[in-house]
Symmetry: C2
Subunit: 533 residues, 2 copies
């Protein structure tokens, strides 16, 4: 152990206590394990219990030049989980900072620490009998709200673009100083957290997808629960109908008929959300054959592309939006259906007659529809995680842990303007590349904002199959290269993709390096994380 | 003239041509004139004609350490017009960069240069027969869209928060390098301008309300024209009803019933928008007496506070919103009225019978209502500028120019969470302070976002009255001090208020200085502009 690290560890122990400094090899190995191959070693894990301790730890890290990688709850699954973006880091785990610091029902916001999980915020709002909704993701119940914001993750309601609903932040800098953004830099400002721009430069943007600071508090805006919410679903039978449908949806998203981030998943995506890989039917062959996929699609009644969205408002407002959607999509899509909570409850009761009436395999589809409906109303779900076991030989256990169980998973999520031709072009790159590597090209396209869509590609495999780690990484890298060469850049990177982008313009690289230099001259904070040099 | 400046001027001339470098005293004096006293001298004005020339000018400024102050069209009226925030600057006027570089009807955006004015963009959209609306302000037709964005100005439609609709920027740095933000840093990225966050840190926030770069291009998102738009108006007779009404409006703003930035102006604000100061009736006395104000209010039928807002959507959607507003405000406000384009046209035809039926002085009120309706549908207006002549002894000329005509005007616009008690507290500070200095406390409160309101205070006076410049500045400074002491900070500063804020926390000051140091180590770019040291 180098003497600097030794001295730093001693100093950390003084600050946060011996038991909060982990250096046992076995314990550390969890922090070196993701859903794909990584070879970054972790030298210690620090578990501070307060913002002051985070500040002191960072001051020590800077003093002794110890690379320090902050994580919240470490559930960045498919992007690297808890694994740092560079070798030999001390991991700074912020799980214990799990307080909800402020709650304002009238102004519809909550202020929280990085250890606060989706489930925790959901329970909190329920306990408060709040009329406010959070926006949830389909990831772990235990995933950190701030961790997700720091990656600019997204969800399912009109508040889906998480970073876009941040009213202000507290940030610990590499030197240990604490910064309040926006009006927060004035101690007594009443509008801190409510009016995000403040006065003077707006700095929040510097601290998402960066290694310039550690977010220790976020004021998050919440959505007043609407009177009524109705989901809608439809499908397309032919893969090449996608472009046309995207063109039909764009005006609805732009004019606010559809206010939420709607999702369009392909057949591969749907089947991997319903069940594991059909090892028996395929006689162990990969990738899934088109014939078998067609059979499964028929059985569960899904199409080549399957869209789901949600409408919000009074019952009358939703009825108007529904009418407009029907008019716009009439004759252009299959099986346009609307579903609300009452219908969902009824469907559960009447699963068999419903199937008889509609031909839909309701019991199985309900497994998928219920959590989707929940997500569109701000209810987090743990049900989606099972899909990470797609290529495994056993079903997901009751306590799924894809890191532990060697599930293979890598995300790649290119963004494009919401135009049919772009969706088609991305799909064509993804399909051909993934099939070449014998992976199922499972894709969902999210109309994340009024003008942009995010094509989330999932490379799902079994890490226990020899050579698959390498093959998945190759597949990913080739796809990323082709996509960026065609102008489609991911909205987010992981340990597997950090540094995989083409070189940006020099002026932007220089600027980011210069800012990094002044904020963290010793480069101790999360080296390699979204860093261009 | 110092030799550095001499050498720089020679270099500028080579780059942009002799005729684009202005040093004649008389011409310069326009750049030293605002609607209040300033004593910053301007040593030259540069008028580059392209981004490349802006880059070259900045490289020269940095080389010769010449303080350089960029303006767009210089219509920052009430905040300093064209006057730099420090003495002895070269003004870099970007008026000639007036191209609309890209227009995308499908994706609802336009990309433009700093010389593009409100009127120009409006005309452009009309010529294109576009179904898209811009968001306009009540300021000059010739004001720069980018200039307004750079100050985070706001307007009247659901796209009122201008900076919030920026999809990406090009920025010239102090060293002359050109930076593209967001995905724009990758030359071929299709989502540049459409998905603003890009990948990695989001930098746009650094360049609004700052002196860290010169915005030379903005991609601005536009609003698809709704099927229908209806304005609504109501008033309160008692000043102390304000708090209650704010409480009633907040839920409507939060739940999206009211999607736009609604405005609530007090009696002083309304009367100064309709006519000049009643010098005759008041026998030359200032400030306006409560009695006379009451008489004028009766004549024109306005209340102590007067709200206007707008509803957007299909006719049926607007009807639903109207119903909800009526229900929420019933019995709590006076004269809740709804007005659309057809009614406005009809009213113009039937001015006299309408007055007879309703008692409203329609001809005069129409002067105000028509431009307001226009603003809520993205139509800029030059009509509002006349109000800057409030305290002058003559009416505004047909070509109003408050700088030239020595109109006195200072804005002060504190932000607060949308809570009645805060509106009341701000109003109480403003009223008492302004009356003490014998100015009319003209205020409009804008519910700028779902959670925040902006109380725009207008100090309007006559610069030709001896001592008024000083008195206005004193009044402003005292008000700013009281407001910030109570936690109400302005959303924006001007030459008259730059440096007037209490000291922010050290960590934020250090951070901003450090960033300034690396981006502009010679401090040539807009010294003193939103700068904390």
């Amino acid at each position: 152990m180098n003497p600097n690290l030794r001295a730093a560890l001693a100093a950390y122990r003084v600050v946060i206590g011996d038991e909060q400094v982990v250096i046992e090899r076995e314990a550390l190995s969890c922090y070196e394990t993701a859903t794909f191959h990584t070879d970054h070693r972790v030298v210690a894990v620090l578990k501070p219990g307060s913002v002051e301790q985070v500040q002191q730890c960072m001051a020590i890290s800077t003093q002794y030049s110890v690379a320090t990688y902050p994580i919240s709850t470490g559930k960045n699954v498919g992007y690297g989980s808890r694994v740092p973006t560079s070798d030999n880091c001390v991991v700074l785990e912020l799980k214990r900072l799990n307080r909800i610091l402020e709650f304002n029902e009238d102004l519809a916001y909550v202020s929280l620490e990085p250890g606060v999980t989706q489930q925790q915020l959901f329970n909190f709002l329920k306990e408060k009998n709040s009329n406010l909704w959070m926006d949830a993701t389909g990831s772990f119940l235990e995933h950190s709200i701030i961790g997700n914001i720091a990656e600019r993750g997204f969800g399912h309601t009109p508040f889906a673009d998480h970073f876009n609903n941040v009213g202000g932040m507290d940030v610990v800098l590499a030197n240990g100083k604490l910064l309040h953004t926006g009006f927060g830099r004035f101690g007594n400002a009443k509008a801190a957290g409510v009016y995000r721009w403040g006065v003077g430069p707006y700095l929040d943007g510097l601290f998402a997808q960066s290694n310039l600071g550690i977010i220790t508090r976020v004021t998050l805006w919440l959505m007043p629960a609407p009177e009524y919410c109705q989901n809608f679903f439809f499908s397309m039978n032919q893969s090449d109908e996608l472009a046309e449908v995207i063109e039909l949806l764009r005006p609805l998203r732009l004019d606010g008929t559809i206010k939420s981030a709607m999702h369009i998943g392909n057949d591969y995506k749907v089947i991997s959300s319903i069940r594991r890989y059909p090892w028996e039917e395929s006689q162990g062959e990969v990738p899934l054959s088109k014939e078998l996929l067609a059979k499964l699609a028929e059985k569960w009644d899904f199409g080549a592309w399957n869209a789901s969205g949600s409408l919000y408002g009074s019952k009358q407002e939703v009825a108007l939006a529904r009418k407009r959607i029907k008019k716009q999509l009439k004759g252009r899509v299959k099986k346009l259906r609307f579903l609300d909570e009452d219908m969902l409850r009824l469907a559960e009761k009447l699963q068999k007659p419903y199937r008889w009436l509609t031909g839909v395999n309701l019991p199985e589809m309900l497994k998928l529809l219920k959590p989707i409906f929940g997500l569109t109303t701000g209810v987090p779900t743990g049900k989606m995680i099972a899909s990470t076991y797609w290529r495994k030989k056993q079903d997901a256990p009751s306590d799924p842990d894809p890191d532990r169980d060697r599930c293979g998973l890598m995300w790649l999520a290119p963004v494009a303007p919401t135009k049919g031709q772009y969706a088609q072009e991305i799909w064509s790159i993804v399909e051909s590349t993934m099939l070449k590597y014998a992976f199922e090209p499972a894709v969902s396209i999210t109309l994340i904002t009024e003008r942009a869509m995010d094509c989330v590609v999932c490379i799902s495999y079994d890490r226990d199959v020899v050579g698959e780690d390498e093959r998945a990484q190759q597949c990913h890298d080739e796809m990323l290269e082709k996509l960026t060469a065609s102008g489609y850049y991911p909205y987010r990177l992981g340990v597997h993709s950090m540094g995989g982008l083409p070189r940006a313009e020099e002026s932007s690289i220089e600027l980011l390096i210069a800012i990094k230099d002044v904020l963290d001259s010793k480069r101790v904070l999360a080296p390699g994380r979204y860093q261009d040099d």
